[in-house]
Amino acid sequence: MASVTTLAAVGEVGKGFIHERTSETLPCQATNKLFCWDWAGEHINRYETPTLQHLELVAISVLIGFVIAFALALLAHRHQWLQPPLLAGTGVLYTIPSVAFFFLLLPITGRGMDTAIIALSAYTLQIIFRNTMIGFANVPRSVVDAARGMGQTDRQVLWRVELPLAMPEIFAGLQVATVSTVAIATLAAFAGGGGLGEPILKGGISFKTNLIIAGGIAFLIAVSLGLILFAVQRFLTPWRRVRQA
């Protein structure tokens, strides 16, 4: 009985999630069961839009974050003195709690996907920037010395030598940034940004089937994006796969 009262309390928000509240035998979703297969089978299509939105949020945010962080990294690589302030700056952004970040942006950018994307992009900066710098720092000095000594210009050294060799670290940064963005993007619903946070917010936190489906989809997105990035990195760095002869 307790669960019925709780469900009623959810009221408007939970509307549509709960059917046949008055039927004789309580349906699965009205009980405290962990997962309701019947309900899941019937309603799986309502996750389609949030899933696509979630992918959109992640893809756009990581892309914007990458472009900005990468440009900053190139700048800091050329002018080394820029490194500490940029690390600190992106670090400060990274420490703002995400929900607070969304609410801080609301008066400026209003509710919607844009607000969510701004915050999510800001979170990726630190990881991508730092990993790109580490990638540059790990390029053996002797290789750069040889490249310069044979007559490569600064630009050629950067694009032909340093960037390819920094690829593993850059991709590691992208991977972490992507996976964490998938997780943080579930909070975008607070800013009206849609995504998989939406059904969680609407369905209420006590309806476990809903939580598991939404959370599970987010988990699958994170794992598959991580694997795709890993595969791309392997494809782009064939020299790392060779074994000592």
Partner: protein, 395 residues
């Protein structure tokens, strides 16, 4: 036919290098790293810059391709000042080999070798053909072309480093301790290979090392440098060993310079002794007669082609005829072209007083003894003898 093409091209591709008061001062440092260096390196010769660490030898070398910019003075390659050149373009005409090799780990061996040709805009096929040609020139299996550097041993990687530096047929080669990180056995092999290569291609080479033995071995000329990038002495290896300019050079060359001089000589450079020769079946009385007044007190048994078989002892001569098999073994056998230092080592190691020396066909040429060597080192003629011995062997 690619190798014909190479020698034809390479023979024209060497320029003299001239330092004219080249100076490098680092900001905030009172002393110059290199002070008014003036040095002339003839085309096609190996000049070794050698000295203790911090003497400015690497800085001096790097000013040539402007990876270090000089503060005053000038350096000329041929007639042209390096200051008048765009640094990147200048460097593409100068081979560059460094101790850490610095191969591109993300490029195949063929791509590594073709790096400079690619910068110069060569067509793909031409660059690939050049890579294959250079692989064989430095003695590497052409199958390695598609491997990555991590799949090669250190010695193989350094050969690729040399091939890469030679790819665009540079006028000058800069080599900064190129064999310094290689184990001693492979280092010696790489040194010999490079000397053989150099005999073929005749580049002007600036070679930096801190190892005086390597300098003596590799250099046509050696510039011994002391702190502040000043040249203490610039001379051929033989001159340096015979006649050190001052105490600093004497110290740096080392107390064993008499022995080092032996490294510059071949067995053929010295007057050998003659041993009485004996043939199997010859009358022993005849052999005994030859022994009278001979330089070597033992007869040497040789075959019909004058190839030494062994030394004859008193017991061998006891019969009427010389036996076919000698009582004592031959001991060390030297070639006319052996390096004198190695010959001495063979003598000492074999605990032998005498070693037979043979020519290319294996025929007896003479006999070397420890006594000859020590007499030679003590004699005043040694100096003049050695000059002729410093010509580089081609084999």
């Amino acid at each position: 036919m690619p190798s014909d093409e190479l020698t034809e091209k390479s023979s024209a591709g060497a320029s003299p290098v001239r330092y004219a008061g080249a100076t490098k001062r680092y900001p905030g440092s009172a002393k110059a790293a290199v002070e008014e260096l003036t040095l002339e390196i003839p085309a096609g010769e190996i000049c070794v810059l050698v000295g203790p660490s911090g003497c400015g030898k690497t800085t001096a070398m790097r000013m040539v391709n402007r990876t270090v910019e000089m503060t005053e003075g000038d350096i000329f390659i041929g007639e042209q000042s390096v200051r008048d050149r765009n640094p990147a373009q200048l460097r593409r005409e100068i081979g560059y080999v460094i101790q850490q090799i610095g191969l591109f780990p993300h490029r195949t061996i063929a791509e590594n070798i073709a790096a400079v040709p690619q910068l110069l805009g060569w067509k793909k096929e031409r660059a690939a053909a050049r890579s294959a040609e250079l692989l064989s020139l430095v003695g590497l299996d052409p199958d390695l072309a598609e491997r990555y550097p991590a799949q090669l041993s250190g010695g193989q990687q350094q050969r690729v480093g040399v091939a890469r530096a030679l790819a665009a047929d540079p006028l000058v080669m800069l080599m900064d301790e190129p064999f310094g990180a290689i184990d001693p056995i492979n280092r010696e092999r790489l040194q010999n290979e490079f000397l053989r290569l150099q005999a073929e291609i005749g580049k002007t080479v600036l070679f930096v090392t801190h190892d005086i033995d390597e300098a003596i071995k590799m250099g046509d000329r050696i510039a011994i440098m002391r702190e502040g990038g000043r040249v203490a002495q610039y001379a051929t290896p033989a001159e340096l060993l015979m006649d050190p300019a001052d105490e600093f050079v004497e110290d740096f060359v080392g107390a064993d310079r008499a022995l080092k001089r032996l490294a510059l000589m071949r067995v053929a450079d010295i007057d050998l002794w003659k041993a009485p020769l004996a043939h199997a079946g010859q009358a022993t009385s005849e052999v005994r007669a030859d022994l009278e007044g001979a330089e070597v007190p033992y007869p040497l048994l040789v075959d019909g082609d004058s190839r030494p078989l062994g030394w004859l002892s008193e017991r061998d001569l006891a019969g009427a005829q010389v036996p076919a098999r000698p009582d004592s073994p031959l001991g060390p056998l030297l070639d006319r072209d052996d390096i004198m230092r190695d010959a001495l080592a063979d003598l000492l190691q074999g605990e032998a007083q005498y070693a037979a020396v043979v020519d290319h066909e294996g025929r007896i040429d003479g006999v070397l003894s420890v006594e000859i060597i020590s007499e030679f080192l003590a004699s005043p003629e040694a100096k003049t003898e050695e000059h002729s011995a410093t010509e580089r062997p081609h084999g």
